[in-house]
Symmetry: D2
Subunit: 294 residues, 4 copies
Amino acid sequence: MEINGVPIDDTYAEAFPTWISRIIITAVTEDWAYRAAVEATGFATSAIGCPCEAGIEGILAPDETPDGRPGISILICASKKKLKEQVVERLAECVLTSATTAVFDGLPDAEEKIPVKLHFFGDGYEYKKEVGGRNCWVIPIMEGEYVGEEEFGIVKGVAGGNFFVMGENQMAALMGAQAAVDAISAVCGVITSFPGGVVASGSKVGSNKYKFMPASTNEKYCPTLREKVPDSKIPAGVKAVYEIVIDGLDEECVAGAMAAGINAAVMVPGVRFISAGNFGGNLGPFKFELSRIL
Amino acid sequence: MEINGVPIDDTYAEAFPTWISRIIITAVTEDWAYRAAVEATGFATSAIGCPCEAGIEGILAPDETPDGRPGISILICASKKKLKEQVVERLAECVLTSATTAVFDGLPDAEEKIPVKLHFFGDGYEYKKEVGGRNCWVIPIMEGEYVGEEEFGIVKGVAGGNFFVMGENQMAALMGAQAAVDAISAVCGVITSFPGGVVASGSKVGSNKYKFMPASTNEKYCPTLREKVPDSKIPAGVKAVYEIVIDGLDEECVAGAMAAGINAAVMVPGVRFISAGNFGGNLGPFKFELSRIL
Amino acid sequence: MEINGVPIDDTYAEAFPTWISRIIITAVTEDWAYRAAVEATGFATSAIGCPCEAGIEGILAPDETPDGRPGISILICASKKKLKEQVVERLAECVLTSATTAVFDGLPDAEEKIPVKLHFFGDGYEYKKEVGGRNCWVIPIMEGEYVGEEEFGIVKGVAGGNFFVMGENQMAALMGAQAAVDAISAVCGVITSFPGGVVASGSKVGSNKYKFMPASTNEKYCPTLREKVPDSKIPAGVKAVYEIVIDGLDEECVAGAMAAGINAAVMVPGVRFISAGNFGGNLGPFKFELSRIL
Amino acid sequence: MEINGVPIDDTYAEAFPTWISRIIITAVTEDWAYRAAVEATGFATSAIGCPCEAGIEGILAPDETPDGRPGISILICASKKKLKEQVVERLAECVLTSATTAVFDGLPDAEEKIPVKLHFFGDGYEYKKEVGGRNCWVIPIMEGEYVGEEEFGIVKGVAGGNFFVMGENQMAALMGAQAAVDAISAVCGVITSFPGGVVASGSKVGSNKYKFMPASTNEKYCPTLREKVPDSKIPAGVKAVYEIVIDGLDEECVAGAMAAGINAAVMVPGVRFISAGNFGGNLGPFKFELSRIL
């Protein structure tokens, strides 16, 4: 299969279940909502070494938010137990502290809920209030009053949807990856949690040489090792590979994001090959065959 | 004392020691260095609930970095033990994974060093190389090769330098705070770790009502509680307070940042009063008297 | 009429016809499309002193553009004669010169067209090519090849849709204006051509004192002149006024943008009054009564 | 000559005199100063088709501006006659209209001055005031009061300093150009007036085929025409060329910017060759030999 002259590998991305919370952060302006969202979703690239995976899902116009203010929607992804702890900490430290923010549940129809009881911060001065049909707590703070919901829906979603953008040199692959991230940013229900949405150093599970390492470089996908390792997965003429990793609310939106990203990446001159990462299909229940989703 | 007609409270900011690492992240362009820096310094507003405090110190021109590429300098602040763990995790998850980044020690003259051994990620394919006079490891990765130093100087610096911007309404106080942060961003050696550099919800230690809370709203500084609590610190006519919290490499640069920030804040129409936070002087060894530093 | 406690003046905005061209700029990434769009829409706030009015209408995902790349849609507004000249100059100087850009007609169904013959720049090396169903010219340039359509639909739209955001102080009014612009940015078919979308210095036609001036400060709307001029339009308690000026493809989208902007502005604390500007209804054919559109 | 393995052409950039005004725009925050600066320097890439050349020189901390607020310094470049007209129009339409801005002369020591009489906009309500040692006019406007100087120093500077970044493919050349612009942004006294600082379509004077064209594609520097035109300047292996054009206050700062940009560009993988543009030395009085400035 080829798109715009770029071969698409006959393979699939393997992905795993994750629990996801979607949080709507509103503020007086989009800028201020964005600042809170960036802080709240930082240090959250990969569950391997970060306490969760998180990212910005999208921008919400005032008429799309419960309180009629500009908003940003973020997704936080982790195991169920860690998810609650992380949502509490990130809202408490990064959003409650942020100027003019309010917080609302972005999955009000989810069957499962987690409690996020920030109102104890009010030390008894807090009170309840309905805002846009949502049951909120109001907490007196230095800037005035913070408003937020304290129950957040969570759903079992998909983590680790992915594809590889391979280029004839590093800059071509990187711009291909950036074009992919631009395209994915318009897709609802997904995030790309790595810096700029792009992974420069994909890993394999464990390490052959250093037994204490939970993960190490995926030498089969390292262009500089192409001649040095057996079974290199680097096609002739490829000098750099970037991985786009996608977490999303369900299989459909992850597949849609993968398709949007790949279709954008192949438009970039110097992108030579598209593939995807899997672990042989034994681990993750979700398989995204490139030929099917495109 | 008054500046530009705004009264400056006759008080001081009380601050505490912290260990600090300064890391220089370079990349192919400033944009890409910035993306890595933002991710690496996220979820790091306050040591109360975040694993560390971190922020962007400044932008470095290519002729200011060891490898001659655009760079961003970040500071990571924590206890000595946590600092090592956080630098390792944040570099491993947020910078090594980020496109085209390299990492260098920003405190090469510090007496104390922490090891940050990312090279094990190379699974035996890594090798040593000198870059710009620095001893680096090169790790083969999917995009090509990652380059980074593995020893980082740490110094005992200052956390919690602060001042309060009080306004006749919320927007005046917020813009005063933002002007302060703009001014501080030009000061070397400091960060403002909260979202957009501004704290909306300053806290007191513990809670009067909820004994399980390590911190709670500082009701004396809550404008909506001015008539409800004894000893409110809110001057007449003040409707909103923002706190600027500053961490820095030493007392001098924190004092300089406080002065730059306050001088900028008082230029904003509607800013009515400047004060600072302390705990009576019993806890922290650093005292920044506003009348002295201005 | 009141929204969120803010009185809405019982008045209308008066607007005028203008010719409009909508241009789709695509590039290898959204960043590069944005850079071209910003340059092409600069020095274009008001037809009084600028050669045209122009602004960014919105961001287009790759699957919304003719060539499958990230895009930005801009509107350029002027008299029919000036419009052709400005579209030619701005595309030639600001987009053809910009990295990786291509240009497509954003109003392909318009009955009237203007020719924009950039292909002569190719000095005979140019050639025709179909891209995404559009008839384009390809021009060899230093970066490779530029691709662009050379016929652009134009429609008779609306210029000067407007409303005033009045605040109890300057910062409240400004943040109200910014929230309005955030909301309008999500509305299709419109631009706000002033810096940041906000006008700080609305004008009246002519000048009472300086006869050579085509326009001068609108003293009736100057808060500092409230006690000095007869018939001041500044309500008691208002200290600052910002105007949001909207150009759009038709009356419906301008009315929608006005409503979205006003609904967002009134959510900002310290915004005290909303009004709109007109010239008594004698000049412009379009009247947007605030009570009707909200 | 080679830097980082990249050959530097044994040639020179040829540049021309231009008159330059440096304007300091301050505002309540850096964001608002930036918005005004972007609008005021738009549609100003090349004097061939734009009314002037203009760009952002740098960011100024509050302690570097006359009124103690965050600032942006811009340069506007044109013939002496056009310069006055353009400074007047751009300040009147793009800065006086912009929220919270004030304007100051950035070349107070220049011998020649141009008058920029915006105060007539005040229709008699304007008055004089000293701000930071500068003689300013205060004009009552809708947001409150605008403050600005009305005499601006101008100097005879240098336009058209330049170099070419050539790459093994388009994305490598583009990222090389962007790294160059990042480096130049830290140099005082210069601007890069094209979108993102980069020129994709360098031109030659006139046209061989279309006699009515004042400029046309420089076919000798078009990679796709390498085999089709005699005397192509494209080295073997080069697939894309970007030009960085620099205007500056004097020869020294233009040379410094060229050196900073070239040194940064050659660090980008896939950049293959650096050259510069001249017209044989017959036209411009300034010659920047690459071997001398580096």
